[in-house]
Amino acid sequence: MSQIASICRALDFVEAHLKEEITVADMADAAGYSLYHFCRMFNSLVHHTPYDYLMRRRLSESARDLVESDKRIIDIAFDYRFNSPETYSRAFKRMFGTQPSQWKELGWLDERFLMSRLTREHLEHVNAGEYLRPVLEGRDAFRAAGVMTLVEDGGETISRLWEILARELEGIEGAEYYGITWYPVSWEKSGFFYMAGVEVTAMDSANPALVVKAIPPLKCARFIHRGSRGDLQLTLDYIYQTWLPKSGERLAYPLEIEYYGQDMSAAWRDAELEVYIPIE
């Protein structure tokens, strides 16, 4: 049995027992490893300690319950095996930067920051290379011209945007392609904005059929994503749920920039692209 398969059994075990009293030793048993070896394996493949992952999964599901159910906070705390509302609040604030009561009042979830239930796909993706270590760097201001819309269904709308852009730009060579995502407040309800675009140097060079978006100078963490655009979610989960809390960095804007270089076909087939996340 491969290491990833063993660790997946521990991940499944966590999901089946989020509301029960379980220990890291129980997770190791589920994986079939000694406790010490398990902690080492889990860390190197999941990039969280087993206990950290268990707590983040519990807190993330509790965050969902806060918004989606009428349960009292104290009951949710006990549901997920916190000893008291105080320990729950402290852990919650540590992960989400806000109190459970404020979160409940706000009434919407930013899925980007909830710890996803990690799958075999996540583990294989994150461990396929060392490429998830970002480079921190400044980016100059730039303008992108393209097509932009509110995305509610994910992939399909985005593919259509790229098709439209490809038709508008037919015959143009040497353009640099960007996918720009903007998350408005409570985007879980309304959807997010996505722009398929090219960099333009001056306003007047833009085709009037296209919209122009100005991106200010940013400090960014630059990640390399390998695989299809469909797998991009695996990289984004890693960035927001694992890298961000570990790095101690803070997001400057609710914005992601995908950079495809001069080959826009990388937007719909397996390729390598850069993902820029603005940080403070």
Partner: protein
């Protein structure tokens, strides 16, 4: 993996200690973990001050002791790891060093060779060997004993490492 059974008197160690999840900090990023850092800290101290330590029990032996049995070991994966050298007397210990006294006991001694060293040998010992051995685990710790047969992780294939498991 057949052990030899040995009786040992009380073992007095002087060295450094770590308590927590040894893999929490660096996780999968590097080969570095808290046990590696513990050794670096200890060896740096030893290089500078080793000759001030008295009653040293000679031989090129370095001990790494893993102590479990805490509630937090099971629930959070926290362990105590102690690294150090053996001394014959509990006297004249420099204030920088901690002391660990291991009681007289019987040990099952396993010699790990090459890739066995990085394998999940605790499981082979405790889950596979122990149940059918006629022995029982006697204490909540085990010893990794490093001597000149251990050539470093970069020369794993030529290396050997002895594991001492307290049994009764």
């Amino acid at each position: 993996m057949e052990p030899k059974i040995v009786e040992r008197e009380q073992i007095i160690l002087v060295g450094f200690s770590f308590y927590g999840d040894p893999f929490a900090e660096s996780g999968g990023w590097t080969e570095e973990n808290e046990v590696g850092r513990l050794w670096q800290r200890f060896l740096a101290y030893w290089a500078e001050n080793g000759d001030r330590v008295k009653h040293l029990r000679g031989g090129d032996l370095a001990y790494e002791v893993h102590i479990g049995g805490y509630e937090e070991t099971d629930s959070m994966g926290h362990v105590e790891v102690f690294v150090g050298m053996e001394v014959t007397e509990l006297e004249d210990v420099p204030v920088q060093l901690l002391v660990k006294v291991l009681p007289p006991t019987r040990y099952a001694v396993f010699t790990l060779r090459g890739e066995q060293i990085t394998s999940d040998w605790p499981r082979m010992i405790y889950d596979e060997w122990l149940p059918g051995s006629g022995y029982k685990s006697a204490r909540d710790y085990l010893i990794e004993l490093y001597d000149q047969r251990f050539k470093g992780l970069e020369n794993l294939l030529e290396s050997e490492l002895d594991i001492y498991v307290p049994v009764r």
